[in-house]
């Protein structure tokens, strides 16, 4: 088909819109005061770089081990209640890591935490418990709230892998465990590496958890520069380095995405035989149950208990429903409309980009598609900094409106929309569009009457994903929101960091509940849940 200039121009404009905040950060970083560079290089940067990379490495490793082993249990063994565990292992995606951190902090705090208190009462003296603060605490929390990404990817890969591959290994003299390590896992490697890089990008961007657990990374340092010290020059320098690092990760991930996967579903696919756990059945069950407890059951139960406490206590109840002039309903409404609008805009903008990249694959369209995925590499704090600077200078009327928050969501989560739209389009045969043209429709009519109706489920999935991640977004919302614009995430954070856990619980509970709905829709589309 012949590419229409209209399509090329719209996709190019979208790429430009996405690229400007990124380029602007680099310009500001390069143009920052040389003294700031000097000072930061001598004092902060190496420490932050070490901290950030160490955490990224530890959490990525932890999430890989947890995610792959959980996927192996539910897809490749005769573990009881696998169907239920699949859901339980994926559902933590609805819980923002900072809410998980709040709950576990309340549980494990050295003084006053539920677990140390319980142990002290039990034994009549203080018993040593590991501290949830610092590097190990952050690794623990982030591992258990990031592994579901890896779990879903590897479960799908285990599922789609050809049974004959493993059977061939068995006939060539490998036992089931050798087969797993010598054949199955190496076959899944490209997909898993790509998944691990996405987790790593999320860690680079993570603010709430590391701030709460007092572990300093680039993201939390930039946040402090922006919110406390108003030092935009230093923030720009740190942001430039952080984004440079993230771009490196994203670039590797895009390269892996571009390569052909080892695994694919073929028409004569049949499921592999299940590994018989035998006497390991009960220990395995405890391991899986342990992961589900830490990442889902404990947070859910604790939040439920707190919420009930809050609702039963009239004083707390009044604070929840009337903070200043705002009420609980307005937090929900603000969360819903800002995330919903971001999802709508991101999906709409992704359409021309996906059409160009999928229907007219060449160098230029590939570059445009990749630029539109750069949001993965711009952490929320950096988006916030870039937008503050850009909007102040060029679009001052936007400053101080909630629209700037929506814009941050769109920029940050656009890649998810682009990927969903692209994969939906790839599954649609171009002959359908060509048939429509030969039956008298113009390219625009074809788009509205044939293409869009048919890729609608894919677009909705992309929209749900943007909605879900925007709902959970914390640092950009905190930095960009105009006074009085409170979302559920903002309220949970504000109350919890002030120590009012019980007061924060209902908002956290509602936030998780609203997230669970689009997540349920998304998971239903996954092969392993059919």
């Amino acid at each position: 088909m012949i590419v229409s200039p209209r399509l090329l121009i719209s996709a190019g404009l979208v790429a430009l819109f996405v690229a400007i905040p990124l380029i602007y950060i680099f310009i500001r970083a390069a143009g920052a005061n040389p003294e700031d560079w000097q000072r930061l290089l001598q004092t902060r940067i190496w420490k932050l770089l070490g901290n950030t990379l160490l955490l990224t490495l530890s959490v990525t490793t932890g999430a890989l081990i947890t995610g792959v082993s959980m996927a192996w249990f539910t897809e490749r063994t005769d573990l009881p209640a696998r169907k239920i565990f699949r859901w339980l292992l994926a559902m933590p995606l609805a819980i923002p890591a900072y809410i998980g951190a709040i709950v576990h902090l309340a549980m494990l705090r050295p003084r006053g935490g539920y677990v140390p208190q319980f142990l002290a009462n039990l034994f009549g003296q203080e018993i040593f418990t590991p501290s949830p603060f610092g590097f190990w605490g952050a690794t623990f929390i982030l591992t258990f709230f990031m592994y579901p990404y890896v779990y879903l990817l590897s479960a799908a890969a285990f599922r789609s892998l050809h049974a004959s591959l493993e059977e061939a290994a068995r006939t060539l003299g490998r036992n089931p465990l050798q087969t797993l390590f010598q054949v199955t896992l190496p076959a899944l490697r490209p997909g898993l590496t790509a998944g691990a890089l996405l987790v790593a990008l999320d860690i680079l961007a993570e603010y709430g958890t590391v701030a709460l657990l007092r572990y300093e990374t680039f993201s939390s340092a930039i946040f402090i520069q922006l919110s406390g010290r108003y030092d935009r020059s230093s923030a720009s320098v740190l942001s430039g380095i952080l984004v440079g690092l993230a771009i490196l990760f994203l670039w590797s991930e895009l390269r892996l995405q571009g390569q052909a996967r080892f695994t694919q579903v073929e028409s004569n696919w049949r499921p592999a035989s299940l590994f018989n756990l035998g006497k390991w059945k009960i220990p395995s069950l405890f391991i899986v149950l342990g992961v589900v407890s830490i990442s889902l059951l404990i947070p859910a139960i604790v939040l439920l208990i707190w919420s009930i406490q809050a609702l039963l206590d009239p004083e707390t109840l009044i604070k929840i429903f009337h903070t200043g002039s705002q009420g609980f309903g307005s937090y929900i409404w603000n969360s819903l409309w800002s995330s919903g609008l971001a999802a709508l805009i991101a999906v709409t903008l992704s359409i021309p980009v996906a059409l160009l990249a999928v229907r007219y694959p060449n160098r230029l369209s590939q570059i445009i598609s990749r630029i539109c995925q750069v949001g993965y590499a711009i952490p929320g704090v950096v988006i916030a900094l870039s937008l503050v600077l850009l909007v102040n200078r060029f679009l001052p009327f936007l400053y101080g409106t909630p629209l700037i928050v929506v814009m941050a969501y769109v920029l940050r989560h656009m890649p998810q929309a682009v990927r969903s739209s692209e994969s939906a389009l790839k599954q649609l045969s171009p002959t359908l569009e060509e048939a429509s043209r030969t039956l008298g429709r113009t390219s625009i009519q074809t788009m509205f009457q044939v293409t869009l109706p048919l890729i609608l489920p894919g677009l909705l999935a992309g929209g749900s994903l943007v909605f879900l991640t925007s709902l959970k977004e914390l640092p950009a919302t905190l930095l960009l929101r105009p006074a009085g614009f409170d979302t559920l995430a903002v309220r949970v954070w504000a109350w919890a960091t002030d120590g009012f856990y019980v007061q924060a619980a209902p908002a956290a509970f509602v936030l998780i509940f609203i997230s669970a709905l689009p997540l349920y829709f998304l998971l239903r589309r996954e092969q392993i849940f059919r």
Binding site: A435, S436, R437, T438, L439, G440, T442
Partner: protein, 346 residues
């Protein structure tokens, strides 16, 4: 009347070394079915897409009913060409019923007309009772017929068919193509039909155009293409020929299996190759014969024998299905045909 004129058409894809279509010209008369045939990658589908307006030619022009639809200066988009197309994968809209699929090209007509045209089309392809169904509820053959009905409904000046039967099972294919040809002939459609299958081309085409590497090797009626192949490629592609070396003599061509009495317009002693098809060769058991039976394939209605001449040259020969001779037997092979053979100077 001439419906389609293709003049010096060329198209090269970006990043490809060779032209997909290289200087192709042909014409198509009203009511005629032209089969474009050739191996995969020969440019037949690209030619079709250029005619449909789904690709833009690098050079050359395309005229429909005398009006230029594509040239250096003109490019009419596909939706304005009035061409019907049947796609290889049928390309039925999965979100529309059979009725709405067929009605898709009839926009702008009033509801009564649409209903009667769609009804007529579905009746013609024998699917009137299926109009409320969705494409995924149909079998391969039924989908194929809906795709045809949809392409024919707007009464296109020209119908293009891109390997329309290739997604069907072998036994269904024969049945569907008979049905489709009957329909096309009944409504006197003008058709360009693309296939890689020589049998299908011979069956469907009033005329055949054989393409190779983007070039038009030969165009003509099926008998001409088969018996008077212009090039070695056409003889090889149409009917699985073997090529036997020979030398031009005064009274025919001298070959390893004897003198073939056929006059050619070539100087004496010219080295030539004769295209021989399995039905041109006959043989009988002869202990001092010129060849050996290597293999026999029982093909149902006939036996196909593979013979090796003493020079190593392989020939294929048909015999009736009851005549079974042992592998390894020495036989005398000879040419036995009542038509002239295709001869190429080597």
């Amino acid at each position: 009347m001439t419906t389609l004129q293709v003049k010096n058409l060329s198209k090269k894809f970006h990043g490809s070394e060779f032209s997909a279509v290289n200087n192709i010209s042909f014409e198509l008369q009203n009511d005629e079915i032209l089969a474009l045939v050739g191996p995969s990658g020969c440019g037949k589908t690209t030619t079709l897409r250029l005619i449909a307006g789904l690709e833009r030619p690098d050079s050359g022009s395309i005229l429909l009913n005398g009006e230029t639809v594509a040239s250096q200066s003109v490019f009419i988009p596909p939706e304005k060409r009035g061409i019907g197309m049947v796609f290889q994968d049928h390309a039925l809209f999965p979100h529309l019923t059979v009725f709405d699929n067929v009605a898709f090209g009839l926009r702008g007509k009033n509801q009564n007309d649409i209903r009667s045209i769609v009804g007529e089309m579905l009746h013609m392809v024998g699917l009137l009772s299926f109009s409320k169904r969705y494409p995924h509820e149909l079998s391969g053959g039924e989908r194929q017929r809906v795709a045809l009905a949809r392409a024919l409904a707007p009464q296109p000046v020209l119908v293009l068919m891109d390997e329309p039967f290739s997604s069907l099972d072998a036994d269904l294919r024969t049945e569907v193509r008979e049905h489709v040809r009957r329909i096309l002939k009944t409504i006197q459609a003008t058709v360009v039909f693309v296939t890689h299958d020589q049998d299908e081309a011979l069956y469907m085409g009033d005329r055949l155009a054989v393409l190779q590497k983007g070039q038009l090797e030969q165009i003509g009626n099926p008998q001409e293409i088969f018996h008077e192949s212009n090039t070695r490629f056409v003889a090889e592609f149409m009917g699985d020929s073997d090529f036997l070396k020979g030398k031009v003599m005064r009274d025919g061509i001298q070959t390893e299996i004897g003198l073939i009495k056929q006059q050619v317009d070539l100087p004496l002693s010219t080295q030539v190759e004769i295209a021989l098809r399995p039905d041109d060769i006959d043989f009988h058991i002869d202990g001092s014969g010129n060849s050996l039976i290597i293999e026999r394939f029982f093909r149902g209605p006939f036996n196909l024998y593979r013979l090796r001449l003493d020079s190593g040259q392989i020939l294929h020969a048909f015999t009736e299905h009851t005549r079974i001779l042992p592998v390894g037997a020495r036989v005398q092979a000879h040419v036995n045909t009542d038509h002239s053979l295709n001869i190429f100077s080597s």
